[in-house]
């Protein structure tokens, strides 16, 4: 099992009341609430926490990006990946990921990612996402072509990584006279690609058909099993049987020295009013054309406020009861996580440890307990359940390419 640590890197130094009063914490929620002095302090704190995490034995970091919102300070995940590529030594850098449709020049992304792969000596896992609905609006990218752009940008990046240039690209959404980046990945034929998601069936099917691992983002155990069923059916169509190496799972887990402290800090997972990507504005989060036409009836009701979010907004207590959030001491969280692993059987496990306004000291305690007690126990459980990561299974990179080689085997 490959275990990685995740935090959204929250911009916690703003008044939550301001977001509540405005009624949304994304897109049009004014950036006058962003304090760059606090931002500078928090960036420094987060970098120190990653370095500490590696010291505590954590074997990988999941990074992401979001736009126009306080819940995530990373406006560009490649920037943090580049920093950590140089400052860390062993940890995998799992980007989940770069929002491809938002890119006007995917070749630039291919270059940036190749640089990160070389600087990190082959520790990059390059996940790709579609970007949230409101992020299409934040970046002015047409939501109606989101999926087309995702797939075409992916094809262009993989080709830029695997086909010696120069070549010409005449696509539907991207045209390039000359593709010939003088930065190519260290891992051959290219870094692993993992795809995270929550509810889009098309993304699950696409990932399965590419043979890319799919990372279910804190979905309920039942929903996760439905995702695997969808994935497995699509995999069967292209002729392989998926295993744990094709499955990843993100789980919110806060650990502390006492149960009380853990529960108190875990409440911070609710700091964005219970939705982990913040208080969504129904219209901005579901622009026309962004969602599958099959979901149109549900989303139009949601967009005018007649239906609740299709993602749901359960209470903290309910999320603890459903193990959507797990909190406690290592002793109490490990059995719960064992059950999650038994039920969802992932080869890749991301632990979302800290969110909101958890103090630096408490975040570091959580990281230490994860790295030294929880993750080693999970690794053992993973072994007993035969939950092999793509690295351990030496799984094929994709339907098109065999397993990658790297000059320096840095990822365990």
């Amino acid at each position: 099992m490959h275990l990685v640590y995740f935090t959204e890197q929250p911009m916690s130094a703003y008044s939550a009341d301001a977001g509540r009063e405005f009624g949304a914490t994304a897109l049009m929620f004014s950036n006058r609430h962003f304090d760059p002095v606090a931002g500078s302090r928090l960036y420094g704190q987060y970098i120190e926490q990653y370095l500490y995490a590696e010291e505590m034995g954590i074997e990988g970091f999941m990074l992401n990006e979001h736009h126009n919102a306080p819940f995530c300070m990373q406006a560009k995940c490649n920037i943090f990946a580049a920093i950590l590529a140089a400052m860390t030594k062993r940890a995998s850098l799992v980007l989940l990921g770069n929002p491809l449709p938002l890119a006007e020049n995917p070749v630039r992304l291919a270059e940036e990612l190749a640089m990160i792969d070389m600087i990190s000596k082959g520790r990059l896992v390059s996940g790709f996402v579609r970007g949230g609905g409101q992020e299409q609006l934040a970046t002015g990218v047409n939501p109606a072509f989101n999926r087309e752009r995702f797939e075409e940008a992916h094809d262009l990046i993989v080709k830029a990584w695997t086909t010696p240039g120069p070549f010409r690209w005449e696509g539907t959404h991207y045209q390039h006279r000359v593709v010939n980046p003088w930065a190519v990945p260290l891992q051959k034929p290219h870094p692993r690609i993992w795809i995270p998601g929550v509810l889009s069936r098309e993304t699950i099917v696409w990932s399965a058909k590419q043979r890319y691992p799919y990372i279910a983002l804190n979905t309920s155990i039942e929903a996760t099993k439905r995702i695997w069923a969808t994935y497995d059916a699509a995999a069967a169509e292209v002729g392989y049987v998926p295993g744990p190496e094709n499955r990843g799972y993100l789980q919110r887990v806060h650990v502390a020295e006492t149960e009380e402290k853990a529960i108190q800090n875990a409440r911070q997972f609710m700091w964005m009013q219970g939705e982990f990507t913040g208080l969504a504005h129904p219209v901005w989060s579901s622009p026309s054309g962004y969602f599958s036409p099959e979901q149109r009836r549900g989303f139009v009701e949601f967009a005018v406020g007649r239906a609740t979010s299709p993602r749901g907004r359960p209470t903290f207590e309910q999320q603890l009861a459903d193990m959507q959030i797990i909190a406690g001491t290592p002793k109490t969280v490990i059995p719960k996580l064992k059950r999650v692993l038994e039920e969802t059987r992932p080869g890749i496990m991301a632990i979302w440890g800290n969110d909101g306004a958890v103090s630096d000291a408490d975040a570091r305690t959580c990281i230490r307990l994860l790295g030294q007690e929880v993750m080693p126990a999970l690794r053992e459980i993973g072994r007993s359940l035969d939950l092999k990561s793509p690295f351990e299974a030496n799984a094929p990179l994709s339907i098109a390419h065999a397993a990658p080689r790297r000059e320096t085997a840095a990822v365990s």
Partner: protein
């Protein structure tokens, strides 16, 4: 509307697919007799029935196509611009053998009408633009539906909230779905720049048809300055304001608009 000409199923595989050579195939509602009047509907589609349409059908041979990808017309996956729509309608008029026609463009449909007027200047008898999108307003911006709910966007087009209730009542899920389909198509062809063309102003000087530019006095969707710009750029245009009226003039003040049309187009 009594006579319907339905769209055909079409699947040409997207922008890079093989072009469909059949042509035509759009849903066109037709009614009345006399001089042909092509009515180009809004970005929110067109209600099936409107008192305004009934009144027009008493005066004209009325043609109300559903824009490609809107209402009951199939979406051509390759369509990328409002100018593409204008070309499609020029072909539709040729296919139907329509000559000596007038164009009435409502809001977004006004943009299509203005594009058409620049393409075949000698064919067009009269051009009427009502709260037309298509040019960048010198003052203010065109209201961006991407940031508003379907209902709020349509409501913003009325000066009097009762007029919205009268036309749309309690909005059904089917209506919301229809608005979403329309909105998606508007995004596909008018996303950026949003709802205007940067080149159309440079082409409007070619229009030969006399033009009536009508604006609701309280249009909150397209700033009046856009209408004044149309008036200034079109060679033979006059500008009329309908007071106490929002963007949806034909729905909110149909009598006022009909009076202006009668004065401009004359009655047979």
């Amino acid at each position: 509307m009594t006579e319907e000409r339905d769209g055909e199923e079409r699947d040409d595989g997207g922008l890079d697919g093989d072009p469909d050579r059949r042509g035509g195939g759009w849903h066109v509602a037709q009614a009345g007799a006399g001089r042909p009047l092509l009515v180009l509907h809004r970005d929110i589609g067109s209600p099936a029935q409107l008192p305004f349409y009934d009144a027009l059908a008493e005066r004209f041979a009325l043609l109300i196509p559903h824009h490609p990808g809107y209402g009951r017309s199939e979406r051509p996956p390759w369509l990328r611009s409002v100018r593409d729509v204008a070309v499609i309608y020029q072909a539709l008029l040729a296919e139907l053998g329509v000559t000596g026609h007038a164009l009435l463009g409502l809001g977004f449909g006004g943009w299509i009408a203005a594009e058409m007027a620049t393409m075949a200047p000698r064919d067009l008898r009269h051009l009427v633009l009502v709260g037309a999108m298509g040019v960048k307003p010198p003052q203010g911006d065109i209201l961006d539906q991407a940031l508003l709910s379907y209902i709020d966007y349509v409501r913003a087009g009325f000066h009097d909230a009762h007029a919205f209730e009268r036309i749309f009542g309690s909005v059904t899920t089917d209506q919301l779905v229809e608005w979403d389909v329309c909105r998606e198509m508007s995004f596909r062809i008018a996303w950026k720049p949003y709802m205007y063309s940067q080149t159309l102003p440079h082409l409007l000087g070619a229009v030969r048809a006399p033009t009536l530019v009508v604006w609701g006095g309280d249009d909150e969707v397209v700033p009046r300055s856009a209408g004044e710009r149309y008036r200034d750029l079109l060679p033979e245009a006059r500008f009329e304001l309908v007071p106490s009226c929002g963007h949806h003039v034909e729905m909110e003040r149909p009598d006022a608009l009909l009076a202006l049309l009668d004065a401009f187009l004359g009655r047979d």
